[in-house]
């Protein structure tokens, strides 16, 4: 049954997601491309090892992880190898309360942003965006990136990051609260800079 489901097309369709996953870890598009190709080739050759369509992406990512690990071993940089499997060290449970008063109202809270669309066109904005994204606690950053950058769906992110459903919602919500606040403080409050280029 498996080999009727697994075609070159279904494999190729997963390529963009796999590529983004590899790119975020390897930070080099040629290396990422190689890893993805090796992954698809290995998947094709061991199609028998695949057990059902629902988990195709999970299965492929499993193979891809090995290819990425191989790369780090080859380049003897295991110590600095980034990974999506990091665990929580610093998950402040009370953290969300910084954003809300005990009444449930915002503490400060989201201000209106002037012309966010224009920000997307500015090189400087992306530096700020990157800083804000990197400032997320490691596990939160991983979950956010798997969902929003790699493009996995929430079930897949839970499997990848070993999160319960409830933990997933909390983590994503906190990530958005944090990113939002960081962007507001570092970019959108900086209206003078915006006006100069308006």
């Amino acid at each position: 049954m498996a080999d009727t489901l697994l075609t070159e097309q279904t494999l190729a369709a997963q390529r963009p997601v796999l590529f983004r996953y590899a790119l975020l870890q390897l930070r080099d598009s040629e290396l990422a491309d190689d890893a993805v190709q090796e992954t698809l080739l290995a998947a094709w050759q061991s199609a028998a090892g695949f057990e059902g369509k629902a988990g195709l992406r999970t299965w492929l990512i499993g193979i891809l992880k090995h290819k990425i690990a191989d790369h780090w071993r080859r380049s003897a940089r295991e110590a600095v190898a980034p990974t999506f499997d990091r665990t929580d060290e610093d998950d402040g449970e009370a953290e969300e309360d910084d954003y809300f008063a005990s009444s449930g109202h915002w503490n400060g809270g989201p201000k209106a942003w002037a012309d966010p669309e224009a920000a997307l066109k500015r090189q400087e904005f992306w530096l700020i965006y990157e800083v804000c994204q990197n400032n997320l606690p490691p596990k939160m950053a991983n979950v956010f990136m798997l969902r929003e950058l790699v493009g996995l769906d929430s079930d897949e992110v839970c499997r990848e990051a070993g999160l319960s459903d409830a933990n997933y919602w909390v983590t994503m919500h906190r990530a958005r609260l944090r990113l939002r606040e960081c962007l507001e403080i570092r970019w959108f409050n900086n209206t003078k800079q915006e006006q100069r280029h308006a």
Binding site: H105, W126, Y129, W169, R176, L179, L183
Partner: protein, 66 residues
């Protein structure tokens, strides 16, 4: 009526799954009256868009591949 905290949780969840009709109604009613939650809603959507754009940008920055 739901608090801003509860509504912001629903807004966030609404980006990843379809909310129930009841939940959608309460978000809608709340957001109509609450500027901050409305800002949170548009800003969360913006962050999603920015994350996708960032990924595209990363792909072109880390090497010109076809």
């Amino acid at each position: 009526m739901r608090s801003c905290r509860a509504v912001s949780v629903l807004v966030s969840q609404g980006l990843d799954k379809k909310l129930s009709l009841r939940e959608r109604c309460s978000v809608w009613l709340h957001v109509m009256m609450c500027t901050r939650c409305r800002n949170f809603q548009t800003q969360s959507q913006f962050i999603r868009k920015a994350a996708r754009r960032y990924t595209d940008d990363l792909q072109s920055r880390l090497g010109k591949k076809s």
